[in-house]
Symmetry: C2
Subunit: 460 residues, 2 copies
């Protein structure tokens, strides 16, 4: 689907490095018909771009769509949600007094199982995609359910909506009730393959939607299943997503279920599931040795602060993981996490890092810049799209959001109530505006969202 050549003009903000946001003002970003960024020039307005940039690209002015951000608005890279369960979306906010293992039985498995109803699956997945897009999530690593048809539907809906996604059919042949699990390892792997084939047929080059091998987590998988999924990963070179060390009870359970497997990370490694394409959600209780193993294998971590706090799993030590060389991104972990917003995940990553710091390690604190890096560029690396999305650089693709904040006038009023809760009084520096957006922003501030140059969401 070829689009139009496009030029974006105004202020652009992205992560240059973990601890540094870069601000481009009066800048032109030129995006070609395939959604690729072909030029970035500072000090350009439309006229100057038309005169000096279009000819070299062979663009004619009539054929270029122009997007100018208004005063106070800015373009920001789309968010990458490195871990969420699309199938659990209707349960956001419902986790009661429970912790992980009883929460799964009480709230989660019944909902996931119910999505074998295609109409319900369509309603839930549609809403989840719309909601995440509206919050600026241009790429998501989704868990679906064990149902192949439903998983395939999720992939189809992502394609239709234009959201980049990794879509995984969940494999699990033990622990859960018999009404929601794979009968055996062979059946699970066959179902995983069926879903992989479907997704590859729909998007052969994996440009927008890719399959991901998805053992739910070690306790829910027999050794045979883990071994077979490890082989499948080696055979296909596909990404893998699973959970690790979310709660202490789960870590203890893994020790019991895999008495000869070593640490939790070693269990996955032993089955060939710790690859450079592996996304490990949570990693709250990972030891330093495990983190070193994860780093050595090039596997990545999806930090899910909202979920970890809400269901009392613990406080992931993100600084420590980064120090040990583990690449990290953010996950909303819907519905262990109550919010589908990566901006909220970034906000809570800041707070959780402060709770870690209360233990005495000042360095644990993550800055505004750092959590926004994790939400974009960090996430891109976690899902294997570093160099393709997560920032504004020539050669990258235009996955972006247009952000607008409310401007308070002298009478204490704002023009547009739909601008949400970020009130800019006019004396703020740019880094302060970004901090305000991080801490009080919501989907009202995300005015437009593009994936590969295609407009996929616009606030009415």
């Amino acid at each position: 689907m070829a689009g139009q050549n496009q030029i974006f003009l105004g202020t652009f903000i992205h992560s240059k490095a973990l601890d540094e946001l870069e601000y481009f003002h009066e800048t032109a970003v030129l995006v070609d018909k395939e959604g690729k960024i072909v030029r970035i020039e500072r000090g350009y307005d439309l006229e100057k771009a038309r005169e000096n940039l279009f000819p070299g690209l062979g663009w004619s002015s009539e054929d270029v769509a122009v997007h100018v951000c208004r005063d106070g608005q800015f373009f920001f890279p789309g968010f990458v949600d490195t871990h969420l369960h699309a199938s659990q979306y209707p349960n956001v906010g419902i986790f009661g007094k429970s912790t992980l293992l009883d929460w799964l039985i009480t709230y989660t498995f019944p909902l996931e199982a119910s999505l074998s109803d295609p109409a319900k699956a369509r309603s839930v997945y549609t809403r989840c995609i719309r909601k995440t897009l509206s919050h600026g999530t241009t790429c998501a690593a989704y868990y679906a359910t064990i149902d192949v048809a439903g998983t395939n539907l999720l992939a189809d809906l992502c394609l239709a909506a234009g959201q980049r996604a990794l879509v995984g059919r969940v494999c699990m042949d033990r622990l859960s009730p018999d009404w929601y699990r794979d009968a055996d390892a062979a059946g699970a792997v066959a179902a995983a393959r069926a879903s992989i084939e479907h997704i590859r047929r729909r998007d052969p080059s994996g440009t927008l939607v890719r399959p991901v091998i998805t053992p739910r987590f070690a306790p829910a998988c027999s050794e045979e299943l883990l071994r077979e999924l490890g082989r499948l990963a080696a055979e296909t070179d596909l990404p893998v997503q699973t959970h690790i060390s979310e709660t202490e009870a789960e870590v203890a359970l893994v020790g019991q279920l895999f008495p000869d497997g070593g640490s939790y990370a070693q269990v996955y490694d032993g089955f060939g599931l710790l690859t450079r394409r592996t996304i490990l959600a949570h990693a709250v209780h990972l030891t330093d040795d495990e983190a070193r193993l994860v780093a050595a294998r090039g596997a990545k971590v999806s930090h899910c602060p909202c979920s970890n706090s809400a269901i009392t799993s613990g406080e992931a030590r993100v600084r420590r993981l980064l120090d040990l060389g583990v690449a990290c991104g953010l996950g909303t972990d819907v519905s262990g996490g109550y919010s589908a917003s990566v901006l909220e995940a970034a906000r809570l990553a800041s707070l959780v890092s402060r709770h870690v710091a209360m233990g005495g390690d000042e360095r644990a604190k993550l800055s505004v810049e750092e959590v926004l890096f994790l939400a974009t560029r960090g996430g891109a690396e976690v899902v294997g799209l570093e160099g393709t999305v997560g920032a504004f650089e020539v050669g990258m693709e235009w996955d972006a959001q247009l952000v607008g904040l409310a401007r308070v006038d002298a009478a204490g009023e704002v023009g547009d109530e739909d601008d949400g809760n970020v009130d800019v009084f006019g004396w703020e520096k740019w880094d302060e505006k970004v901090a305000k957006w991080l801490f009080n922003g919501d989907d009202r501030n995300t005015k437009k969202v593009w994936v590969r140059g295609r407009l996929v969401h616009e606030r009415k």
Copy 2:
């Protein structure tokens, strides 16, 4: 200002006790011209109420305003924000990498001092009141600044907007830079008196707006100032608000500044500032002995989870305080807290209690019901309005909000995007709808807000 007799019909939810929400369906709540609830009857619709309730009250149908909540909507008590700095509102979300004491110098004092400009004060205070009202805050305990005119303006603006408020002129004669502090204790007390007199003139019965004696916190006040403010409290029987034990550095500083004062709580007590009308913000690092002293004096605590996490102050042990008999409410602590929403404060109170629980004490967790109690009925007690607001009971006043949630249809769509991020799929029980509201709700869900029967906010 006498209003109209009113009848509210539909679903009402409020806190019956700390751990119990009560649900009234198909219920009529009748509110008289003074804003007082005069009848609550279950199993009533408008017709039945007209026939059976109006005559006994001497109401004629033509003279009664009717409010019916739509299917899925409900009435909830207005929120009480027991601690926030109206003067710091423009700084929400800006706290950087700082902790309390340097944050005050870098961000807070310069902003507060700048509000001696009346135009700026009007803009900031107007926006703060509008913003808090739009989030359902029907009553707020405000810090203004040291500027008497500005403090008086804040009280006037609250009166005009119809928001219940305690408004305090801040007293501080040391610690802060000389460009933002009282010259001496006598000057501070005279300024406090001037503001008290102004507010009493404007609202002689204190029905809507009351003055509150406001020593900033012990380290910012000389012994003489604290002593004089204690005398003023005894003389006037007015409420007192201050901070206590927010950070460990502050506790240590109090120990240095008041070497003979005993504990932090004893310092206040020694100056007569620990009364049954005292609101103590934070109480993060309070010892059990201090909590017992606070409870014995009948002083109250404003728990400010957003602020405590954001500026890394620590984790208040709310369960412990409640166990020791200390009445608690919630404070947004704008702008140490980044959000002006009490719903967000309730959400974060839930999360912070889980971080406390991670230390091993499962009982520390606060439930959905408990944090909503703190946000309403608990807060009412903290500001001295128990029995007047915070719940729906005959004899109480109608401080309420109408809450609406988005209903997802079979196609995964919702009718009104302005319904925000709470998606109801239709199979949820009422307690699950409330949990969804708590965790994903925002001002978009607060459709209307009333104080003493007067409509003070309506979402367009």
